[in-house]
């Protein structure tokens, strides 16, 4: 059974149906493209065929390229990968251009009409194939998504989609679809010019059209004499301004760390200055350069392949299905309320308990407010809101927890408060119930000591705000059993978030890496590094927030609290006194971060960030000689990355895929890199060690290269080469 099949009808229409066996969605492989090309060739050469309709045998047209193929494309491209990739892409262009020209002669006569009929979503190459056809019919299906999301995974539409859409709509109108990967439902896609018709039965409409279309109807504007780019080519006065602005916007937005956007823009610019076929060749050259860039394969690997694998339970212990039916949430504060919301949204019954009925109701009200917002933005309905709220029971009665199969305790971050809650809950819940404590810093093994059944006790670290942050860090205490891990993973799957599973150690994984990042930034302030250089340096390596803005968001008093606890635990070995000096001084002045309206930044009444606090420079004068921005960046990145390596080395992290996915989803670690381990692989262990050696000499032992990294440098190995299949250090 092949991915494409053709049925030549008695009416003279050859219907080519895309239906990949054993998959719910069509994705394109290179072999399948060859099949399609062969069918098109056959139909064009068959006098009995008047026109062709390309459609899908599934509810959707296609989800795009097979990402598993794409991620390995470079490795599979032979001894000269650039040439292998370029030749492969040009073959793809050849196949699509054959559809577009459809047997026409050089006077645009004698071609056969080819239409695309889209029953549902058409994404990526699933839209690039239709764009090569002469007319696109989509089913009137408001759930369908149409667009070119390639840019979101670090590549760009490289099967002619970039060149065709820019020529069809003009650079300005095409930019939301190309540069932002904007997806539209069919009626909006039609008004934007992405597709041509929205109809009830796209195959029937497409058949009618191919049988009635004239020679002129099937000629693309760019294949006619005198074609002019809508909105103006780059050296047309209007086009000039568009292209000047486009480079600046892409530059400012991508901070120079996402090569795909720049390559896309270059394809559009250079392509606009030459004939269509030359433009496709230029697009192919840039697309090759992006596929050759390690950033694109690292992004695809972490953000799609490995993220998907973790969500599907790559690290789930072998235990029976642990689907959660009723969850008890203890503590209706911000975290508890958020967890209640996402649980109820997933269809799970929720008991939300707090010390008073009123407090519990306040927590439940968060879900109501959230749904009201959704109704306002037409993302939800009043019925859905009622259904959802109906699943949440707000109470002050612990007895209501008796029927729960999972408890998520989200009370105040204090061991004694948590201990009391644990005792009270365990007194009422059934013997099979799993108890999860939501904490960002407290060691699970210690918390588990009060539990009557520590093998059923587990840590679960949600990120704030729960409804927005997609990572959940699951922490195994020393005695946590497999069923508890499976339960937590099944719960995370139900609420459609991405899990990582780590072993218990101070700050687990995420905070272990975030804290040194913040500390390094604060330390630089104390040293007299210009604060904007710290913040911009971070953003220019792709961090979403500079360390000072981040600590303002998290709150400075929390930083102080963590520092004091860590100091108490570590004693003389505590390495961050220089950081505390600044943090404690800020806290002493009441500058607690955004929530207090003052921190490293100044804020307006409305909470809007005005700019760095002017008093900062008075307190920590900017020194005469400023470091290079690259030094600032190495410090900020290595502070995080070395913690990730140490966490892996120590067995806290047992899978580098979790380390990479968790870093990007948890705290926005430079997504272009694919994560800390992918970044180390991109620069290579040898260079990483060299950077560490310099930083250690200049700034102290916190930058000492871990032995694991040194070993890999010595052997010329990479993290993904050694551990890419999910093996831990110990297993290897």
């Amino acid at each position: 059974m092949t991915d494409f099949t053709m049925d030549k009808g008695a009416d003279g229409v050859a219907v080519i149906t895309w239906d990949v066996p054993n998959k719910s969605m069509n994705v394109l492989s290179f072999d399948a493209l060859k099949t399609l090309d062969g069918l098109v060739e056959d139909a064009l050469g068959d006098d009995a065929v008047k026109g062709i309709v390309i459609t899908s045998g599934k509810p959707d047209f296609a989800a795009g390229m097979d990402l598993n193929v794409l991620a390995k494309l470079r490795d599979d491209a032979g001894a000269n990968p650039a040439k292998g990739l370029f030749d492969g892409i040009m073959q793809m262009h050849g196949a699509l251009r054959k559809i577009e020209r459809a047997g026409m002669d050089d006077k645009n006569k004698g071609g056969k009409p080819i239409a695309a009929a889209l029953p549902g979503s058409a994404l990526g190459i699933g839209l690039e194939i239709p764009l090569a056809c002469h007319r696109i019919f989509a089913a009137d299906n408001p759930k369908a998504k149409i667009g070119l999301p390639e840019i979101m995974i670090g590549i760009f539409p490289g099967a002619g989609g970039t060149t065709r859409l820019a020529r069809k709509l003009g650079a300005m109108a095409a930019s939301p679809f190309l540069l932002e990967g904007k997806l539209s439902e069919p009626s909006k896609a039609k008004s934007a010019g992405l597709i041509d018709e929205v109809v009830a039965d796209p195959v029937a409409a497409a058949k009618d059209w191919v049988l009635s279309a004239s020679d002129k109807d099937i000629v693309k504007p760019w294949d006619e004499k005198g074609y002019k780019m809508p909105g103006g080519a780059p050296y047309h006065p209007a086009g000039f301004m568009t292209f000047v602005g486009a480079s600046a916007m892409v530059n400012g937005k991508t901070k120079g760390v996402f090569p795909a956007a720049k390559a896309l823009l270059s394809s559009v610019y250079e392509g606009a200055l030459v004939p269509f076929d030359t433009a496709l060749r230029i697009e192919a050259r840039y697309f090759t350069s992006i596929l050759m860039n390690p950033s694109s394969s690292a992004m695809i690997r972490s953000l799609f392949i490995n993220k998907g694998a973790l969500e599907k339970g790559a690290n789930r212990p072998d235990a029976p299905d642990q689907t959660v039916r009723k969850v008890g949430i203890l503590g209706a504060g911000m975290m508890g309320a958020g967890i209640a919301l996402v649980s109820a949204q997933a269809g799970i019954e929720v008991v939300l308990v707090d010390q008073s009925r009123e407090a519990a109701e306040r927590g439940k009200a968060h879900s109501a407010t959230y749904m009201d917002e959704g109704i306002k933005r037409k993302k939800a309905t009043p019925e859905k809101k009622e259904q959802m709220l109906g699943r949440i029971e707000a109470t002050d009665d612990y007895a209501a927890l008796a029927a729960c199969d999972l408890i998520v305790e989200a009370v105040f971050e204090d061991p004694s408060v948590k201990a009391e809650a644990t005792r009270k809950v365990e007194a009422v819940i059934g013997p099979d119930c799993i108890f999860a404590t939501n904490t960002s810093t407290l060691p699970i093994t210690d918390l588990a000591e009060v539990s009557q059944r520590p093998e059923q006790y587990i840590g679960i670290h949600f990120f704030s705000p729960v409804e927005k942050m997609n990572l959940v860090e699951i922490i195994k205490g020393a005695k946590t059993g497999d069923r508890a891990v499976a339960k937590a993973l099944d719960f995370v799957r139900q609420i459609r978030k991405t899990p990582i599973v780590v072993n218990d150690a101070r700050f687990f994984y995420a905070n272990r890496c975030i804290i040194p990042y913040i500390n390094e930034g604060v330390r630089m302030v104390a040293e007299g590094v210009a604060p904007p250089l710290i913040e911009n340096g971070a953003k220019l390596v792709g961090m979403p927030l500079g360390p000072l803005q981040l600590v303002d968001e998290i709150s400075i008093d929390l930083g102080v609290k963590i520092a004091k606890a860590t100091r108490a635990a570590m004693g003389d070995a505590y390495p961050d006194a220089a950081v505390d000096e600044v943090l404690f001084a800020m806290a002493d002045q009441g500058r607690m971060g955004r929530k207090s309206g003052s921190g490293f930044y100044a804020y307006e009444e409305s909470g809007k960030r005005k700019g760095l606090w002017e008093g900062l420079e008075a307190a920590y004068p900017v020194s005469e000689g400023q470091p290079e921005v690259s030094e600032v960046q190495h410090r900020l990145l290595m502070a995080q990355v070395l913690e990730a390596v140490r966490a892996f080395e120590e067995g806290v992290l047992t899978d580098i895929r979790e380390g990479d996915v968790g870093a990007i989803l948890g705290w926005g670690f430079a997504p272009w890199s694919g994560g800390p381990f992918s970044w180390l692989d991109i620069i290579g262990a040898t260079r990483a060690v060299a950077i560490c050696d310099v930083l250690e000499a200049d700034h102290g032992t916190r930058f000492k290269a871990p032995q694991l990294l040194r070993d890999m440098a010595a052997k010329g190995e990479s993290f993904y080469g050694r551990y890419g299949d999910g093996q831990s250090v110990k297993a290897a």
Partner: protein, 403 residues
Amino acid sequence: MTDAYIYDAVRSPRGRGRKDGSLHEVTAVSLSRQVLNAIKERSDLETRGVEDVIWGNATQVMEQGGCLARTAVLASDFDERVPGLSINRFCASGMEAVNLAANQVRAGAGEAYVAGGVEMMSRVAMGSDGAAIAVDPSVAMDSYFVPQGIAADIIATEYGFSREQCDAFAVESQNRAAAAWDAGRFDKSVITIRDTNGLPILDRDEYMRPDTDMQKLGALNASFQQMGEVMPGFDKVAMMKYPHLERINHVHHAGNSSGIVDGAAAVLVGSKAFGEAHGLKPRARIRATAKIGTDPTIMLTGPVPVTHKILEDHGMKISDIDLFEVNEAFSAVALRFMQAFDVDPGRVNVNGGAIAMGHPLGATGAIIIGTLLDELERSDKELGLATLCVASGMGAATIIERV
């Protein structure tokens, strides 16, 4: 090596560079022709002895395209055996023409040149010749391209010039220009531009606003704030190159930036032997020339490094120079020059500059050399330095010495 001398310098008055400007009806060819003819007539020049006409112009398309230099020679009363060379170093084109002429004379490649330039900004819009550095992502992004106004605001931010300082400098430029015109200090060099019948069209710089004061300038909105902060957001690009800046302080506006005008200028450059053969007396020696590349994002700081270079290359000190002409592309450009060299503002642009009188891109370099020479003569000083900032991060300078 032979020395190169300036024998004469003329310029057109500067017309407002808009459709209602007095020179808008005049073609680039006609304006060029009139200054070329003026330099010929004033020295009773036997043009066959001129090796080349080197003509600066920053926007070489349409009527300014197709080697305007040669077209202008053919349109003028020059001998047709004189060729023409159009050159473009943006705002320093007119200076580069003079420097190129001087250096060829020094090297013995010809005895005399006419060098200068023209820019009809009302007729051929600035930027209408296209520019890959602005639109080609492969270079626009890698070089962190921002428009000049943003670059000028980066200078103000980086070197700490406030809006008030920039406005005060602009007011001073207007006052000095008005006083200079009133005192007839430009009479020696400015010619009247006429129509085909000999009727006068313009005889005086018309861009000036002598009634400018701090209050009037204070009412103007910063011109580059919107494009910097909002759409398309050039400040973000600027801060990629200057990450130690938290924000760009937008201080420049139409009143403290150079004026968009039409204008042309020509300088007669020759060897000593040329002067002797034609009975001409040299007015100044071209002592030194220099050009340099600088960071393209801040773009307009070139006058500082090019001045360091020209002084070092010729064993001179800043204190040797009596008078300076620093092209007033934007207030911050001139303020930065004075700050860097700690020079007395009383010796810089003593008769005003481009903020008051306008900046016809391809001509200005030649204009300010002429203005500097006139003032050295008037005030009986010896050494003068003229310098300009140049787009895409360049700078140019010329040192002249009275003889």
